[in-house]
Structure formats: C-alpha cells, structure tokens
C-alpha cells in the first residue's frame, strides 16, 4: 500500500519538473555539436534546456507509455522513419511557423508539420581506392550483381538507416524488386551483418570487403578522429554517390518535433526554429559533418570535397510509411 502511494507521489512530482523557462528535450543525438548549440540557445533566449538522452526507439517507447503525463517538450531523433513512427504513435503534435517553413524544404518535413528535418545525411557507397574503380559503381541496384559476390559489407537491417534505404527502394522499384535486391545483396555480403557503419569502412580498408554502404558523416568522423588507425581507414576509401543518372542518392534527415504532452509549445517552436536557422545549420556542417537541410547551402570544406550530388527528392515521410514493409522484406530476404 505504501508502495503505491509513494509511487503516486513520485509520479506527480515528476510531472511538475518542467517550469516556465525550461525545455525538456528527449534527444537521441549524441554529438558534441548539440551541446554547443543548446548552450547557445540558452544564452540567446534564457530558456534552460534539459536533455534526456537515450536510444531513439526506447525514447519513443517511453514517450508512448508516459502518455499525456510526459514531461518532454521536444523530441530530437535521427531518421525520417522514426519521426514518422513517432507521429503515428501520437506523441508529436503538429506545429506551424513561418520561420520553419522558410528554413526547411517541404520534402524534408512532415506535410502536416509534426516534425521538421534539421540536418541531412546521404547513404552512399564507400569503396576501396586500391581495388575498385569509380567507373565500376553505378547504382544501389547494381550491387545485386553476382560480380560483387563476397565483396560487400553492410550493417544489420535492425538499423533504421538501412530500413529507410530499402523503403526508398520500395518506393522507387516496388516491393518485389526490393525483395530480390535485398536477397542478392545479402548473398554478396562478405559476412553476416555486424557492427556499425564505421566498422564496414574498416572492413573495406582491411581488405575484407571492397564496397560498403554507409552514411556520409561517418566518413567525416573517421577522417577527423584522434585515433590514427581511423584516419588511415579514411585515407584508404572514397565516396561514391549512387543513382546520379536516375532518382539520385538516398538521403535522410535528423529532426525533431514538439511532443503532444508539451506544456511549453511556444518555447519548443522557438527551439526548432533556432536549430534550423542558417547559423546553426553551419555549425552542423563544421562539427558533426552533416549536410544542412538545404543541401545547397552547405559551407563545410570537407563536405564540399566529397563533391556535389543529386539527392532523391521523394518526400521523406515515405521512409516512415514504408518502414514496416521494409523490415518485413529484410526478414524474408534473410538479411539479419
């Protein structure tokens, strides 16, 4: 009995945690650049930012169980699929603002305004400079060919980035072709999916694989790492943007939205506007190697060095709506 009463009390107390001049942000992003930006926001507006970090899916699950009693104001996470899922789960509320419409292109945000993109990353082919000529690479679909047998390294299908890539392929080619593509690529993999994107690059550098599929910013992280071996890895590989003659390379966003339970809607919108403002966008380019939401506005040298590219213009909310289909196709293809 005492247990229930105490927990009731604690629960009520938890509900009172956010006062007027504070924002509770549930964020999956763990880059140092974020701390810099949050501090800058507090300096400019006086609103304190409390960050709860967690793994993206667990944050969403927690928001769902907390329901309307949740203390969270803003959810920041990576991948449009997740943002879509958060919207479907009812934990984000639609917001509109002129600044947000100015800062964020339409394809990079939810049509109803439940979430807005903040940064962009492309999922590209990273290849060994020694063993692969750029002319051998064309499209994602090409990787299904038998000539690539035992030469590809990709991470697990549990990872949302792969799911979004497959979602974009489903959108472009249909589910049946997507299934045969996934099956063939899995057969061409040098090993069962394991490790992070960076581990795939390391496999390429070590000679185990010739081509890896990974996100652009990881290359930036590798090239600027304090660890000498990582910098060596970055030197041995190169970036290739696929499907340039077709729909363009697959891109994704990290972004955020205002939670349904937020009691500080105005401040939360202010926060999102701040993160999508040009100044903040430049910080992303410099510090976390991510493209700004308006890719052309990029100022970072490193990103420039990878070359300009054509991006897939499909509305990113499709990455969310086709997400569960993508996961099921991965399951059927045996891609762990």
């Amino acid at each position: 009995m005492k247990l229930i009463l105490t927990s009731l009390l604690l629960g009520l107390l938890a509900g009172f945690s956010a006062s007027a001049a504070e924002l509770n942000v549930y964020s999956h992003r763990h880059y140092d650049s974020d701390a810099v930006l949050f501090d800058r926001f507090t300096k400019e507006t006086g609103i304190k930012v409390n960050v709860v970090k967690g793994s993206a899916d667990q944050l969403i699950q927690r928001l769902i169980s907390e329901g309307k009693n949740s203390p969270a104001d803003v959810l920041l996470t990576v991948d449009a699929g997740r943002l879509h899922r958060a919207k479907e789960a009812g934990i984000l509320q639609p917001v509109q603002s002129k600044k947000l419409r100015q800062n964020v292109p339409a394809s990079m945000s939810d049509p109803q305004g439940h979430w807005y993109g903040m940064t962009v990353r492309a999922r590209v082919l990273v290849y060994s400079k020694e063993r692969v000529k750029p002319s051998e690479l064309t499209t994602y679909e090409d990787l299904a060919k038998p000539s690539w047998r035992g030469r590809i390294a990709v991470r697990s299908s549990s990872n949302i980035y792969n799911q979004s890539l497959l979602a974009s392929i489903i959108a472009a080619n249909g589910p049946d072709k997507a299934l045969s593509w996934a099956k063939a690529v899995r057969k061409n993999m040098v090993r069962a999916p394991r490790g992070s994107d960076r581990d795939q690059a390391r496999a390429v550098a070590a000679g185990l694989a010739d081509v890896a599929i990974m996100n652009t910013y990881y290359l930036g992280i590798l090239a600027n790492s304090e660890v000498a071996e990582d910098r060596e890895v970055a030197k041995k590989v190169s970036v290739f943007f696929p499907n340039q003659k077709g729909r363009g390379a697959h891109v994704n966003v990290s972004g955020g939205g205002v939670t349904s339970s937020s009691k500080n809607k105005k401040e939360a919108i202010q926060f999102l506007e701040f993160l999508t403002s040009p100044k903040s966008q430049n910080t992303f380019g410099e510090q976390s190697y991510e493209y700004p939401v308006k890719i052309e506005a990029n100022r970072s040298e490193l990103l420039e060095s990878w070359g300009p590219f054509k991006a897939d213009k499909v509305n990113l909310s499709i990455l969310g709506s086709k997400n569960s289909e993508a996961v099921k196709i991965f399951d059927r293809a045996g891609w762990e």
């Binding site: 793994s55 169980s65 009693n69 496999a203 185990l208 762990e336």
Partner: protein, 545 residues
C-alpha cells in the same frame, strides 16, 4: 509441494485446510506480495493468448533464426563453461600442484565481469581473423570465405561468454567435489581406481546435480545477454525481442517472443529438476574430513596450471588489462564531475535494491516456513521465477503493467527509480531467496516449532530467533543482489529514469557511439566495485566447507 499434486482428493483437502486454518494477516500478505511480483511475468505469458498481427510473418522468416542462434550459442557456451568449470574445480579440490591455493579463489574472479563488458574487451577478436579470411578467399574461394566468416562468429561469441560465465559451474562443482570428495575418493582409492577413472566414474556422476544447476545458470545468463550478442551480430531471442519491439514496432510480437522464451526457460528448469532429482545424496550433512590430494607430477602440474590459467586469463586477466590500458589513455576525457553521479547512482541503486530485496525475501521465506502454508510456498515459487526471465522481458512486463495503470489511474509510474527497483525485485528475488530460505531450513524450522509450542508470537520468533540465526545468509543474499544489480544492463537501459545513468548504462551508451576505449572507464569501475564482494562471498563459501 509435490504432495499438493498427488491426487485431486488430497489437493482439495489441502486447499480446504489452507483456507480454513492457515489464513491470517501474515500469510495473506505474503500471498498477495508474492503474486504481485509474479504479475508482470504473468502478463507477458498471457500475451500468448492474444493474436499478434505479425506472428505469421515472424514464424516464417525470423523465428527459425532466433531459435537456431539461441540454441547454438547456448550449447557452445554451456559446453565450454562446463568443460572449464568442472576440470578446474576438480583440479583445485582434489589435486595438489603449485599455485593451487591461488587458483582456488582466483578462478572466481571472472564473475566480476559482466558479459557485455567482456564482449567490448574482446571487440576486435573477430576482426583479428580478417587476414585468415582474406587468405581463404585468395587460395580457396569467396564462398568458403563467407561460410567460414559466418561460422566463426559462434565459437568466438561462445568463448567470450563462457570465459566469464564458467565460474557458475566452477563454484557449484567445487562445492560438490569438496563435499563428497573425501569419502568417495578414499573408498575408490582402496578399490584400486586411478585418478582418471575416479574422476569419470565416481566424482563426475556424483557432482552431476551441481553441474546441471551451474549449467542452467549459464544458460539463463546467456539468454539474458543483450550487449555481447548484439556486438558480435548473433540473433538470439533477446535480440529478436528488441528488434521486433523497436524495429517492427510490434510490441505484441515482441511479447510473444518473450513469452516463448519464458516457456523455453521454464521447460529447461523442469528438465533441470528431473536431471537433479537423484540428488538426495548430494546433500551430505556431516563435516568433511580433509583427505590427501593427489600430488601431480611435474608434467601433470604444468598441465594443471595451464588448465586453470586459461579460463582465468580469458575471463579476467586479459579483459582487465585491456580495459586498464584503454582507461589509462582516456580517463581524463571521461572522469568529469558527472562521473561521480554515475558512481553514486550505481552504488545507491544497488544498495537500496539489496536492502529491499533481502527484506522481501526474508519475509516471504519466513511466512512460508513458519506457517507451513502450501499457498505461500506456491506463490513464493512463482515470485522467484523472475530470475529465469531475461531482463528485457521483465522490463516489458513492467511497462505493460505501468501502461495499464497509467490508463486506468492516470498515474505516471515509469521513469521513476521506484519502478526500476521494483523491476530489480522481480528479477533478482530468487538470488536473495535461495540462501535465505536454505539458511532458514537448516537452522530455523525446528526452532520455529518450539517457539510456536511455547505460544510465542510470530514477530517474536522472526526477530529473536530467525533473524539472528540467518544473519550470514542475509549478508550473502545482500551481496549477491548487489553484485547482480551492478552488472545488470538490459533492464536498466529500458526503465531508467530521466537523466539517471548508471555505470553500466554509460558503458553501453559509449560503446553504441563506437567509443569503446572510453567505455573502459565506467566498465572498470563496475568490475572494481563488484570484485570485492565476489571474493568475500567466495571466501565465505570456502569457509563453510
């Protein structure tokens, strides 16, 4: 308990007796509390009756893989753990060789290393095989290389897990050998058996119940693991649960997998009961006379030292050295003011949990024994099932219940430390209950009857008789819970409150951001905090012999 099921007539008679004569405040409270602890797990099991939308899909595509990977990994880990644990226990108990005394207690040290930290310490073990794989591709063919690369994951993962899980088998086998060692071995000696035959034909069969118990602990810990399996890329049931829940957003499907896993483990426990059932002779009560150990030859001694050194090196020395090296390079970055919070969070969480869980276990065990209530015995057995359930499943059960409470009573229960501690209660009650209950059985049952006959109250018996006599069991229970909560990962990951981090969650977070060297700092803290209770508990077990 078995008697409760012997025939319907006796069942009804016992039930009737239970209700008429044994219902009072104490037994009722114990029953309710025990059942409350069981409810989250019951909710998970109940999911089996709900149709899950994706179940057909899961069955056709991934269920087979989850089964296959789980079974292979479990088989490999158990095999290695039993081989290492039993051979070392035998050598250390029954043979004499230089360093024996050191190995006797040191072989327990890997218990201080959680499985996920072991995996991070060996994170590049598979990568080290890359040259081999490249050689195979060049000289044999890409298909063979792919096969080899897929195959190698199993033994490597099993090796890493077994290197820190073998102490479960080692401890139990050691206790068993030293209990029967004297009498049986001397008898066999006089009959002319040589050491090898004695080992295989006398000691091993007699130690079978302990070995089975140790193996089942290894199985449960293997199935519970999340960090190590994720790192090496195997698809066990726990991975499947997480994936179905988060990636497919199918809570129902995940719960179904969890329920299947629970059923599988219950089946294993049932098997274990059967395999152990010939075990009355395992509990030899008389004091053990020391017997003369076999003096090993020089060659034999070298082999023995190697045999003991290998698990110790794999499970403790190598991981700890690597972690220390990394920590030395990265500690300045990690040891900031928030780190102190981490340590105090972990310590206070573990300490509070220990106190609560030991009190709970003592109450349940006492009421069951004092009133000899079959009902309380049954509810106790249900309540301690939580240990066999992976932490992820317990967390899901709690979230289920909390979600329902949230909807009905509009109360936010998740995200508080209390919920986390309650989850620990469900998961670790068995750990405290075992030593306390067996301590009571050994020391207090008869005295409780005397106390009842002297018309003394239950409280009086509990406070004046039981508690003083089981003090050492309670300490052991508290330390065991402390160690387990410090090492816990999956449950804490899911249920931790806002901005509340522990050493283990920080370790995991750092590694999931690919900062493996930096993760060594909190990892080493865990090991350091846990190693002392482990050594102390080990000494206590030896002293009892």
């Amino acid at each position: 308990m078995i008697s409760l099921l012997s025939s319907p007539k006796t069942l009804f008679r016992n039930l009737g007796r239970e209700f008429r004569f044994k219902l009072n405040v104490w037994t009722l409270s114990a029953l309710v509390l025990g059942l409350l602890v069981f409810i989250p797990m019951a909710e998970v099991l109940w999911q089996l009756t709900d149709p899950a939308e994706n179940w057909e899909h899961l069955k056709e595509t991934v269920l087979g893989r989850y089964l296959k990977d789980s079974l292979i990994l479990v088989a490999g880990t158990v095999f290695l753990s039993v081989a290492a644990g039993v051979s070392c226990a035998w050598l250390v108990t029954c043979c004499e060789f230089p360093g024996r005394k050191l190995f006797e207690w040191a072989l327990v040290l890997p218990l201080a290393v959680p499985t996920f930290i072991a995996a991070y310490a060996y994170f590049d073990l598979l990568d080290m095989l890359t040259p081999l794989l490249i050689w195979v591709r060049i000289n044999v063919g890409p298909d063979e290389m792919i096969f080899l690369s897929d195959f190698l994951v199993y033994p490597v993962t099993a090796l890493v897990m077994a290197s820190v899980l073998y102490p479960y088998v080692y401890l139990l086998a050691r206790a068993s050998f030293s209990r029967q060692g004297g009498q049986m071995i001397e008898a066999a000696q006089t009959l002319g058996y040589n050491p090898k035959s004695i080992f295989f034909r006398v000691a091993l069969p007699l130690a079978r119940p302990s070995i089975v118990a140790g193996a089942s602990l290894v199985i449960m810990e293997t199935l519970n693991d999340y960090g190590a399996v994720k790192h090496f890329g195997l698809s066990t049931f726990t991975i499947g649960i997480f994936r179905t829940w988060f990636a497919l957003n199918d809570m129902a499907g995940a719960l179904r997998l969890a329920a299947m896993l629970m059923l599988f483990i219950l089946f294993l426990l049932f098997l274990e009961r059967i395999l152990r059932s010939g075990a009355k002779f395992d509990e030899v009560k008389n004091a053990i006379r020391p017997f003369r150990r076999y003096r090993l030859s020089v060659g034999g001694s070298i082999l023995a030292i190697l045999c003991c050194l290998l698990p110790l090196a794999f499970g403790f020395i190598v991981p700890l050295s690597r972690l220390c090296l990394w920590a030395g390079a990265t500690y300045e970055k990690i040891l900031d003011s928030t780190f102190v919070n981490l340590v105090t969070n972990s310590l206070s969480l573990a300490a509070c949990s220990s106190v609560l869980i030991v009190a709970f276990a003592t109450f349940l065990a006492f009421v069951g024994r004092y009133y000899r209530s079959a009902g309380v015995h049954a509810s106790n057995r249900l309540a301690i099932l939580g240990y066999s359930v992976p932490g992820a499943v317990v967390a899901m059960g709690i979230l289920l219940v909390a979600g329902q409470l949230n909807v009905t009573f509009d109360v936010l229960l998740t995200g508080s430390i209390l919920t986390l501690i309650l989850a620990y209660l469900i998961r670790f009650l068995a750990v405290a209950w075992q030593p306390i209950d067996s301590g009571m059985e050994k020391n207090c049952d008869r005295l409780n009857e005397a106390s009842k006959s002297l018309k003394s109250s239950a409280i009086s018996s509990l406070v004046k008789i039981n508690l003083p006599l089981i003090r050492s069991s309670m300490w052991a229970a508290a330390l065991l819970v402390f160690v387990d909560t410090m090492k816990e990962l999956p449950l804490t990951l899911i249920l931790r409150p806002t901005n509340f981090e522990t050493l283990s969650t920080r370790t995991f977070d750092l590694t999931s951001q690919a900062q493996i060297p930096e993760s060594s700092v909190p990892a080493i803290c865990i090991i350091l905090v846990v190693v002392f209770p482990v050594i102390w508990l080990n000494r206590k077990m030896e002293a009892r012999r």
